[in-house]
Structures are given as C-alpha cells and as structure tokens.
Assembly symmetry: D2
Homo-oligomer: 388 residues x 4
Amino acid sequence: MAVVSQQRIRLGMIGGGEGAFIGAVHRHAAALDGQTELVCGAFSRDADNNQRTGASLGLAPERVYDSWQQLLEQEAALPAEQRMQLLVIVTPNQLHVPISIAALQAGFHVFSEKPAGVTLSETERLHEVLVASGLLYGLAHTYLGYPMVWQARELVSRGELGVLRKVYVEYPQGWLTDNLEAQQAKQASWRTDPAQAGSSGCMADIGTHAFGLAEFISGQRITKLCAELATHITGRRLDDDGAALFKTDGGASGVLIASQVCAGEENALKIRLYGSKGGLEWQQMEPNTLVLRPHGAPVQLLRAGKGQAGLTDEALKRCRLPAGHPEGYLEAMANLYRDFATAIRRAEQGTPAGVPGISAGLRGMAFIETVTQSSTSSEKWLDVPVTA
Amino acid sequence: MAVVSQQRIRLGMIGGGEGAFIGAVHRHAAALDGQTELVCGAFSRDADNNQRTGASLGLAPERVYDSWQQLLEQEAALPAEQRMQLLVIVTPNQLHVPISIAALQAGFHVFSEKPAGVTLSETERLHEVLVASGLLYGLAHTYLGYPMVWQARELVSRGELGVLRKVYVEYPQGWLTDNLEAQQAKQASWRTDPAQAGSSGCMADIGTHAFGLAEFISGQRITKLCAELATHITGRRLDDDGAALFKTDGGASGVLIASQVCAGEENALKIRLYGSKGGLEWQQMEPNTLVLRPHGAPVQLLRAGKGQAGLTDEALKRCRLPAGHPEGYLEAMANLYRDFATAIRRAEQGTPAGVPGISAGLRGMAFIETVTQSSTSSEKWLDVPVTA
Amino acid sequence: MAVVSQQRIRLGMIGGGEGAFIGAVHRHAAALDGQTELVCGAFSRDADNNQRTGASLGLAPERVYDSWQQLLEQEAALPAEQRMQLLVIVTPNQLHVPISIAALQAGFHVFSEKPAGVTLSETERLHEVLVASGLLYGLAHTYLGYPMVWQARELVSRGELGVLRKVYVEYPQGWLTDNLEAQQAKQASWRTDPAQAGSSGCMADIGTHAFGLAEFISGQRITKLCAELATHITGRRLDDDGAALFKTDGGASGVLIASQVCAGEENALKIRLYGSKGGLEWQQMEPNTLVLRPHGAPVQLLRAGKGQAGLTDEALKRCRLPAGHPEGYLEAMANLYRDFATAIRRAEQGTPAGVPGISAGLRGMAFIETVTQSSTSSEKWLDVPVTA
Amino acid sequence: MAVVSQQRIRLGMIGGGEGAFIGAVHRHAAALDGQTELVCGAFSRDADNNQRTGASLGLAPERVYDSWQQLLEQEAALPAEQRMQLLVIVTPNQLHVPISIAALQAGFHVFSEKPAGVTLSETERLHEVLVASGLLYGLAHTYLGYPMVWQARELVSRGELGVLRKVYVEYPQGWLTDNLEAQQAKQASWRTDPAQAGSSGCMADIGTHAFGLAEFISGQRITKLCAELATHITGRRLDDDGAALFKTDGGASGVLIASQVCAGEENALKIRLYGSKGGLEWQQMEPNTLVLRPHGAPVQLLRAGKGQAGLTDEALKRCRLPAGHPEGYLEAMANLYRDFATAIRRAEQGTPAGVPGISAGLRGMAFIETVTQSSTSSEKWLDVPVTA
C-alpha cells in the first residue's frame, strides 16, 4: 500500500486583527480539520495590532505584512512550496473586490467574506478576472456549510415537498438595537458606514445570508421583490432592518425578513418551505435538526450525525460526530474550508472541481441592489437582475 | 349575609349543526363556567340535522326552530324570563350582518363569529344599528381570550418594550393544501365560496385574526399595507395564502403572513414585537407561555396561571388554574363568554360595560378590503381606511 | 327518525368551597360537555363559605347542605327524577373512603379525588362495598383523561416499542419549596397533615399520579420497589420529596421521581418508555404531543386532534378540536366526566359499562404503603402488594 | 512592545486509528485553537491502519510507531525541542493506567480518555506515580469543557439556588438497543468486553460522565448510593443500563440514570439541581442554554456567548463566539486542550497550574466500583469510598 502524506494547504489572511470578529472564526474553522495552515497575514492597518496578532498565531515575523499589497507581492516572490496558496479576505466590504482581483491576478486562490463586493458591477468585473485566472474563488456563506442545509436542499430537489409554493426566510438579530456605532464599537462602526459597507447595512450583512439560503435550498431564483427597509436609530447611516415579499422563477412566492433591531434576538436565521406534499423548517440556532412536515402525517425530526440513517451523502460528509454530539457554527465554516482544501488539491492534480462562490456572490449583489432600490420606489414589484 | 343565586344567561344559536366546526366550540366554551345556558337554536337548514342537533343538546323541541327568522320572532314573543338573551351566530360569513342586525332590532344581544361581515359598508350599517339599539355586540376573536395575549398587550402599553419598532405576525395553516372543496368537505366549501365567505378566503378567515392580534397587542393601528395574495389550487375561487408589509400609526412597521397551504402546519398563529428595550413572542399553540426578551438580559418565560406572580390583573382574571395545568383554546373562548355574561348582568343592573366587538369588526373589514385591493394594485402602499 | 332528548346527569359535591383548588376544576370539567348538572352540595364546614359557594353556583338554597351526612340523607329522600345521581368527593384524603362507602350504601355513584383513601385496608373495604352495591366508582386520575396518554398506552400495547425495557416517570413540582403550611396556606396545610392526608404527603398527592400513569401506559404492574423519601422543610410532618427504583411484572425496570420542592417547577409530570423497537415520551405540560422515537428512524411528533390521522379510537374520542387548538387539563378531566355520564346512562339502560376507579385506587394505596415502608427499611427491595 | 511568538504544544496519540470514534474528536479539538500540533502516534495494532492513519494526518513516517511502548521509548530519545510533550490516550479502558504510568515515568504529560482505569486500586497507583512525577494528568471529561457547565457550577457555588436539595442527572442513549457487538461493531465490541472495558459497561462509559457532572456542578461529593444495573441483551457481558439513588455530603439527595438501551435517544445527558431558592437545568444536546428557575419568578434562559452579560469569567473564557452562533461538543473538548496547553506553558515557565484529572479519575473509579457492588447487594445503601 502506497501511503502518501497529506500536505496542508497554506493560507494567508487579510484583516482579522484583534477586535475583529470573523477573522478568528476563519482561523478556528480552517484549523479544525488539520487540512490547512496559516502561513502569513496582514491583519490590521494598526502596526502593533498586526504584529501582536501574527505573533499570537505563531507566524514567522517576516510573514506578517504591513499591507495587503505587500503581502501579495512578497508571497508571490516566495518559492512555490512555501508561498501561500489561498488568500482569506476578512476585511470590510469595500475591499473585497479590489483585494480579490489583485490576489487572483497574483496567482492565488481566494476565499472572501460576503458580500462579494459593494456593487454588482464591480463584482461582475471580479467574475471576469476569475474566469480568466483559472483559479478558485469561494465565498464565506457559512450557513451553507451546515449538513442539514444540504439535506434540506436535497429533499426539495428530489421532490419530497412536491411543487414548492412558499418560502419564508427570516434573520432577526438584536445587536444594533442601540446606537453602538456612536460608542465606537468596531463591528457596528464599519457595518453602518457606507464608505466601508456599501449601499446597505442590514441587507448586505445578513439579508444576503437569508437570500442566499432561500435560493440554495429552494433551488429556485428570486426574480421579483417588493421591499421596505428602515433605519431605526437616529443618525445611523444605513438600513438596520427590512423585509421583502418575493416571487421565484419556479412559481413559488415568499417573504424575507432581516433585521438588526429585534431586541433580544441573537442570530435567529430560520427558513421554512412548503409545497404540495409537505414542509421543511431549519433554524441556525438549532442547526442539527431539520423539521420535516409531511402533509397528512406526523412531523419528523431529521437529525445530523455521522452515519445517521436517512441522510443524503452531501449531508453525511459534513458531519464529523454521531448524532447527539452537537456541531455548530465553526464546524459549518470548517466544512467550507475542507471543501476548499479538497478543491485545491484536485486542481493541483489536474482534476479541477469548483467551489461555490462567484455565482452566489453575484446573486447577493443583485439582491442588495434591488432591495435598496425597491425600498425607495413607489412601484410595487422590481425585477432582480439575472446574473451569470 | 344576603346570598343571591346567580342566574344563567340564556343563549340561542344560529348555525352549528352536525358537521360544523365552530358551533360546538362555542357550546363547550359557553358551558365551561356555568354562566350561560343554551335554550334555543336554528342549527341547520337541513331539518333532520337541525332536530338531531337540538335533541342531542337537550333542548326542548319547541325551541329548535326551522330558520333564524323564526327563532328571532318566536323568542321575542316569549316571556322575558324565558326568552333568549344573547344570540350566537356561527353561520358562514354572508349571514353575519343580516342576522346581527335583525337580532339587535328584535332586542337581543349578539355574539358573532368573525369576520363581522362580508363588506365594510354593511358592517358600518351594523354599527349604526348597534349604537341605536343600546345592546351589546361581541365578536369571536377567540385568541383575544388568552391570558398571555392580555399580558403582552399590557407589557407593551406600559412601555416594557420601549418604543415599538417591529411587529411580525403570522398564521400558517396547512389544511387547504389539497383541493378539499372538490371533495365536498363542508368547512372548505363555504370558506372558498365567494357567495358565502365574501371577497376573501384566507385573509377573511385567518388573516383577520393575525391583523386583530397585532393591533390588539401593539395598541397601534395599521395604516398602510402592501400585500400579495395567491390561490395555489387550480379551481379554487378565493385566496388561500398571502402576506403583507405594513406600517402603523405609532411608527412601527411589520409583516403579516397568513396561509392555508403551509403543508403540515396546524394553527401556528404567532406574534413577535420588538422595541427599543426588548421583545415579546407569543404562540397560540403554546399559549400559556409569553417569551419576554429584555434587551441585554436573559430571556424570561412568563407563564399563565392563577395567582402567578408578575401577571397583570387582566391576565390573571383569565386564568382558572395554577401554572402547569395547561389551559387552551376552549378556555380562551370561554373567557369571552364569561366577560359577555358579566356585561349582560351589568347592563341589566343599569351599570353597562361594553364587550369588544364592533370596533374590531370594522377594523377587520377594513383590513380585508385593503389587502385584497392591494394584491391586484401596482401601487406599493395602500391606506387602510380609518374606522369608527 | 326518533329523536330522544338527552337528560343531564345530576351531580352533588362534597368539598370544593371557596379557597379549595380541585372543586372548581371538577365543576368546570363537568360542565364542559353539557352532560351533567350540579344540583346539590356540601362545600365547606364553614357555613358562610358553604352558602356563598352554593349561591354563586346557582344552586337552590335547600340543596346546599350543612354536612355530607345531611346531603346523603336528604338527597336519598328526594324523588328519583330529582335526586343526585353521582356524588363528587373533593375533600381531604381521610374522608374519601368514609364518604364513598356511605354514598354507595345510600345508592349513589361516586367520583372521588385520589388517593382513594388513607390506607390500603380501608380501600379494600370500599372495594367490597362497591362490588356489593352494583354502582359505579370513578377515581379522578385526571391525567388519564388526556388523549395522548391513551395513544401511548395503545402504542405500547400493540407492540410499537417491542419488548418494554425501561419506564421513567417523574413529577417535579416546586410549590412546597417554602413552608407554606406555616403561613396557613389551605392547600399546603391539609396535604402536610397526617390526620387529613394519611401517611404520605408528596407520594400520596403526586407520586400516585406518576405510579398510575406508569402502570396505565406500560400495561404492566410494578411489583418491587426501593424508595427513599425526604422532608426538606423543618417542621413539615410528611414527605415532600422522594424517588424509587422499581421493577415490573413484565420484565421492565424503571425510576419514579416525585417531588414538591423542585423550586421553579410547575406541574412537570413526564413519562418515557423504551423498548427493543423504540421509545415514547409524553409531558403533561405539553399534552397534545406524543414523541415517538422509532429505533433507527427519525423522531415523530404525534399530535392530538379531532380527525387526526394515525390516532387510535380511544385517543380520537378524547379530542374535541382539530390539531393546533390546544386542549388542556380541564378537557382531560372533562373526558373523565363524559365517560362517567355515558356509563351511568348505560347502567340505566341495563347495559352496564364500568369506569376505571377502584382498581387504580387499590394500586395507588399499595404504592403509598410500600414506598413509605421502603423509605425506612434497610432492605433494598420491597414487594408491592398484589391488589384486586 | 516585545512580541513573543507562541510555540505549539507537541502531542502524541495512542489509539484513534480508522474505525475509532474518540481519537478523531481529540484531533479536531486539539487543532481548533491552533495551540497544539500532533507530532507522533501509535494509532492501531493493525500496521496498515496505523500507517494509513498517520499518513492521512500528515505525520512523518518515522513518528508513526508500532506500539505505545516504542512510541514512549523513541520519543523520549528525541531532542527536547522536537519530542512530544503531551500524550493523548484514546485506547480501550484497560490500557489507560498502564500507558499513563509509563508515559509519566518517561517524562510526558498525559491526557487520558475516561474512565481513568479499570479499578480504583490501579488508579490510586497512577495517582502516586503522578504526584512523584511532578507532571500534568488530564482526564477527558468533555462535558466539563462546556461554558454553561461552569456557569452552573458557579451559580450553585455562590448560592443562587440557596441550600441545595436535589440533583437529578441522567444520560440516556439508545445505540446499544441491538446486539451490535455480535455484528462486530468496533465501538460496541470493546465497550461490552470485560477484558477491555473493566467491570462495567454502561456505568463506566457514560455513568461516570453523569456522576462527574453531578459532583462538578453541585460542588458536593456523593457519599452513598443504592443502584440497580441491568443487561438487556442476551449474551451481552456487561451492564448496558442502570440507575441509582444517592446522597451527598452536603445534604442533598438525587437520582442518577444511565442507559444505552433507551431506543431513539442520542446523547441526552441532562442535569437538574434544585435548592431552597431556585433550580437549574442543563442539557448536553442544547449546551448553550442554561435554564435558571428562580423560586417565585419567571424562568430565565442564560445563554453562552462571547461577551455575554451575566456570565462568569470561567464561562466566558470558554466561549469563542457571540451568542447565537452555536458551539458544540468539539469546542467543549477544545476547551480542555486549550487549558492543558496553557498549563504546560505555565509549567515550563515555572508557574505551574494544575489541570483537572486525577481527582475526577479517582472519583469515577470509586463510583464504578460502588455502583456495580450495589447492584448485586441486598443492602440498600453502600458508601462510596473517599478518594484523594
């Protein structure tokens, strides 16, 4: 038996210094399966923060860079077996596309936080660069890493719900109930700043998750919507709340709710779908259960778990533990990393396999632009642009 | 000590023969507290059904009438101490107003199933007759009989949530997932027949509950809405599904969902409200718990129960049992009957107190008309008419 | 078609004056279906309380009696078509057997609160009197009125769980966490007084419910137990807490927990059963759901509801409303009354059918005596007496 | 500012080859925080399995050893800066003590799966060796890594529940409902084999978790117990089920349930504690919520989460993510690894801090021996030995 030792994929990271939220999430998730290794970073424009972060992560000092530009340049100059393979972008939104494009052009795969960019048009440019590069681009739609989200998608796809009629998706949070940005809270500040977040706050931050989840599980595209956004805090510069009625290309209709002023709510992303033969419900805060409601028969609780009977292959391969050992948010994100590591290995072996990313990124930008336009329009229904 | 024996209020009923749903609910609920007594009825236009129903209820045969007209006429001719005092109307919608008006004109108090009528204008006529009569008119908004609905209303009213920002109310059911009316199912048939139900199916049947609950708990009026209704079953003649974005006169906004094609759902009426200081959640299927989410503090589960600390007077007086002994739908309806019996006694003692009814009835009709108009309008926002 | 008007069964009540708990429960429950009518009572030894209670219930003053002896004597002297048919006993425990025996001997059916008595031997005397009388004796095991308890029993009986292995039943309450009896709280005072409650407090009050539920659903008899009771409040005279390991005649084993010092708990009676093919769980505070756990397949939530697919006949006939309209504790008790009314009618028509009562009563007394003996025994296992 | 790069702690592993369960759990958990690195292992006595496992983990072939003896010998011979620092033992129980002792004697810290051994006396020998070695010994009580378990312990310790009265702990699983060992299922085979598992199956495997959790949260020691174990499968050689009544040195009493034949249950470890001022409830399958039931006030849901108000320091430092992003079993185990890595660094810096382990290990062995003895004893109460 030939035993080949498995090489870890080498990661670099832009953003994610002390005080950031999602950078550490990516690092935990990337580490979980032991398939990647963080080798370099430019974590903060604050030099001290940057150095401290790098050191605490055990990085060699020479690979903690002053800027993302420097990182790309110097890593590209390293020998192939040393240099970063995949760049993780965990900056505020306005840098997502510029860094992604530069990284692809420098020859690196990219894993970007969502939304993909701040406008649909810049994201379309990214798409062109990506296609030309032949490299891989992933988008951190963490919730699409949960096994039961894949199970739900598969149940819908194989017709367990019959003809799909309704999709209700909601993402209530409460953390922006107060004017945190006036208190210099870092997470709140950039997310409510148009220069960093783009044209939308709540819809860009979490509305895109709800939208992406609805399209992913339903297997349908949202083609029309009618939305109303709001800003509940005096002085806040972007929407912190909104809702939309929508219709899909498959004949279903639904409602999308996203809000960051639902006081007392944590991260209560939830989706329900109903068809002629039954319904489904999944909640992010209890991610290992998928509620199946067959029409005319008792509700069933489908449970995530390694080796669990009745789960689809795609769900099973995203479970590490037997049912009853809860897996959570980091494991979902880790699934994205594991898939990405596998895709890079395949690419290197000449049998490329994609990772989901640019398509969802374009959809998300189309959503953000339509939902913000709809909110100020007197027309009832607006078309969501068709994307590549 | 002078002990005065309590007389039972004498009820008559129109509708509610075998095969009906809500008539038996009213009879159980009216009986629960021993404060009323059914003395007469015209239960069905089918003579056999009518007689069988009356007999099974232990009514004297001479007080089981062939028609509602006959009932009103002959009861009015009985001596005061024998004749019906309160008429319960549990017919399809199109008869609600005509019978209500005739009953009031014949000198009887009225307790009507909702919606109050089939048009706003006929309901306004009913309002005029009612005012002229000096009698009492109640509307069977059963869910407003639950103690924790009153608790929620009071918590909002006294500012526990701060400035109200969001109201989400939803009422998904699944029982019309199939074309039941084609199978002659009685409950489905009349509810989907414009001649009996009026201009709306789902919105008249359950949308009005959601709407009424939202206005009741929030203490605000919905002033604008943007709706989309749908009919998912080929051949069905009225809406079986819909949703609306809305705004209130108190500066809040929200979403209302009502659907009868959510396969696998039972009667999942749920409301959530969020303000600057916290949130509230109540679900009809777990009615004895009110979830309070104070901003920045742990979630609290407020529980219904006789003598329960922390409950308001209005909530407490709607509890018969200590916490942990579940009370349900019949008890909620029974609370409406107990209140009505008390109001009649007071009226007879010359210290009249109202029962809720016509105001909610007018609001419900304004809702139905606006939501159906909005669904076919290309304008985004329609005004909900101001009612008396 | 011959239409026969249905006569209401005439009830009398001993106990249940102002300040009592369970008397009002019985009156609500008895009234709910309109099949019974309260005609007389001796509600309290306090004459004012007694008169006020009778008047508030609309009783004729001459049928509000000074004592239970007077009630039996004078009712027996009334014409058959007027006199009480069924006596409801809602006094403290020590009167259950004396009144039951006297009532049966006076020719009345009896519906008694549990436990049946204060000793097994007096309850065996009651059994003899009952058999000799040819009358009906029911015991208020309210929880056995819930539809899903019957569903559970039937699922076990037809082998859905395979060979039964484990039964866990628990009844934690918190209401005796403080020394309420020192504060003259009526409910606490008699329940902790050996002269009124008998030899056990917690076990007699709620342990018997847990025990009875376990035997009812499992269809097996508990033959051996090993128990430890405790009294957590200084000065309290009876147990307020306990637990027992047990074995059944069907080869299963289990645990019974009953406590009234579980601070913060309401009425959390819960039972779980496991066999070679699956498990079941039912909770009194969410009584309309029965959790079925088939081995190797997803959990199913079976729901109570009129016409609900998959329910057994016995469960269905205990549902008044479609699924989603919660029914609760009063409806469960009402089911006992409806069954009793039916049994009395059949008895009068010469086709007698029993009501459950004396057998469960004897079992409960055997349990109380064994569990209290075991608690002070150094022997591990004690036999639970075999009862008739 | 001096920036010191953090070195990873070097781990070795005995056991955990393909087909094992817990080895991979340890590897994921150890990797999650990037504070450790697996450098060597002896994963299986099957040479192919051993090599494949090592290679798939990216280990250098020369550090994949044929036996645990070889691993200890050859690692000890490596230069200090290369050699393993901490040995992880994930073998069947009978090897825990022999390997632990040998590893400590060879100069390595030890992190062992539970139970600590197969007898109390061998575990006492381990204790002596440990004390003599001056090294660290940790025990994989994974559930003690959950933040809300620490929160619960702290709430009890600071008197939020008042005087503790009751502790109920239960651990129902269903995976041994069938005779899996007869089907050569690896996990089932060794756990039901006395030569590998020791004198107990279910109690050693999961009863110890329940016992340890009860002592950890209550802060009290269980001093007496009365137990009944059972084996429900013909041919099975060890207990697969049991329950015990118990008493603590702090005056509380309780019940412990552990079973592996509760068909349909996953990993439903749950603990409830009640005192004179309130109750607490925690469930492993919903680990981020701690239910607090203050006596006479509404239930509160305390939630895990980084920065969450109201959490104690010990709970907070075990949270990586804000509330609403579920953390689970791997994160709990990762907390044990993070603590162990910190303890090793401190030890190396001359400021030693312990890790929990040997004390819990001794307690667990005392429990296993007492519970198995009690099961066959006719005496009601047995003393649980006092341990170091």
